[in-house]
C-alpha cells in the first residue's frame, strides 16, 4: 500500500511539473507575440507623433491665421454693408469711402487666404499619411 501511495504521489507530482512547464512555455510564447504586437503599435504611434510634432508650428500658425482672416472677412462684410447702405441712402461720397475701404482689404485678404490655403493643403497632405 505504501509503495502504491508513493507511486501515486510521484505521478501526481510529475503531472504538476508538466503543467508548470506548459504554463511557462505558453507564457513565453505569448510574451513574444505580445512584444511584436506592442512594437508595431508603439512604432506606429511614435511615427504618427513625429509627423504631428513636425507640423505643430503650422497647426499653431494656421489657427491664428484663420482667425485673422476671419476678422478680415468681418471687415469686408462691414464695408459691403456700409457701401450698400450708402447707396440706398443716395450718399455717393459715403459709398465711395466704403468701396475704398473694402478695396484696401483686398490685397491683404487675398494674400492671407492664399498663404492659408497653401499651408492647409500641405498639412492635409501630411495628415493623410497618418490614416491607418
Amino acid at each position: 500500500m505504501l509503495a502504491i501511495a508513493g507511486a501515486a504521489f510521484l505521478v501526481q507530482s510529475l503531472r504538476v511539473h508538466a503543467d508548470a512547464r506548459t504554463d511557462l512555455t505558453h507564457a513565453r510564447r505569448e510574451l513574444r507575440t505580445e512584444r511584436s504586437t506592442r512594437s508595431t503599435a508603439s512604432a506606429e504611434l511614435a511615427k504618427a507623433r513625429r509627423v504631428v510634432r513636425a507640423i505643430k508650428p503650422q497647426l499653431t500658425a494656421m489657427a491664428s491665421d484663420a482667425a485673422a482672416l476671419g476678422t478680415l472677412d468681418d471687415q469686408d462684410l462691414a464695408a459691403v454693408q456700409a457701401a450698400f447702405a450708402a447707396g440706398l441712402a443716395g450718399d455717393l461720397s459715403a459709398y465711395n469711402i466704403a468701396v475704398t475701404q473694402r478695396s484696401a482689404l483686398d490685397g491683404q485678404h487675398d494674400a492671407s487666404l492664399e498663404e492659408l490655403r497653401k499651408t492647409a493643403n500641405a498639412v492635409i497632405g501630411v495628415l493623410d499619411t497618418l490614416r491607418g
Binding site: F9, S13, T37, A48, A66, D74, V80, G87, A120
Partner: protein
C-alpha cells in the same frame, strides 16, 4: 506426526517469513524512493512556477502598454481626420465668402452703372438690385466664423494628441 514432517513445516514457514520480509523491505524502499523523487519533482515545479511569475507579470505589462499605444494611436488618427475635415471646411467657407463678396460687388457695380447711365437715382438703383447679395455675404461670413472656431478647436486637439 513425525519429526521430519515438523521440520519441513518449520522450514517452509521460515521461507515464507523471509519472502514476506524481503517483499516488505522492497516495497518500503520503492515507497521511500517514490516519495523522494516526488519531493524533488515538486521542488522543481515550484522553481518553474517562480520562473513563470515574472514572465506573466511582463506579459500583463506588455499587453497593457500595447492597448494604451493602440488607444493613443486611434485618438491621434481621429484628431487628424477631424483636423483634415475642419481645414477643408474652412477653405470652402473662405472661398464661399469671397464668392459672396464678389457677387455683392457685382450687384453694387450694376447699381452704379444704372446711376451713371442716368437710368435711376443712386438710391433707386441700389433698391433695384436688392439686398440679396449683402444677406449672402453676411451668412457666408457667419459660416466663416463658425469654420474658424471649429478649425481652431480641431487643430488644438491634434497638437495636444501629438504630444
Amino acid at each position: 506426526m513425525s519429526q521430519e514432517t515438523v521440520a519441513r513445516r518449520e522450514r517452509r514457514h521460515r521461507r515464507r517469513s523471509t519472502t514476506l520480509l524481503v517483499v516488505t523491505i522492497v516495497a518500503a524502499v520503492v515507497a521511500v524512493a517514490c516519495v523522494g523523487a516526488a519531493v524533488v519533482v515538486r521542488a522543481d515545479s515550484a522553481d518553474v512556477r517562480r520562473q513563470a511569475e515574472p514572465v506573466h507579470r511582463e506579459l500583463r505589462d506588455v499587453a497593457a502598454n500595447a492597448v494604451d499605444a493602440e488607444r493613443r494611436l486611434a485618438t491621434l488618427r481621429a484628431s487628424s481626420r477631424e483636423a483634415t475635415s475642419a481645414l477643408t471646411a474652412l477653405l470652402t467657407a473662405f472661398a464661399a465668402q469671397v464668392d459672396g463678396a464678389n457677387q455683392a460687388v457685382d450687384a453694387a457695380n450694376q447699381a452704379v452703372d444704372r446711376y451713371n447711365n442716368g437710368q435711376a437715382s443712386v438710391g433707386d438703383a441700389f433698391r433695384a438690385v436688392g439686398d440679396t447679395a449683402v444677406v449672402a455675404v453676411k451668412e457666408r461670413t457667419a459660416a466663416v466664423d463658425a469654420a474658424v472656431a471649429a478649425a481652431e478647436s480641431a487643430l488644438k486637439a491634434l497638437a495636444t494628441a501629438g504630444g
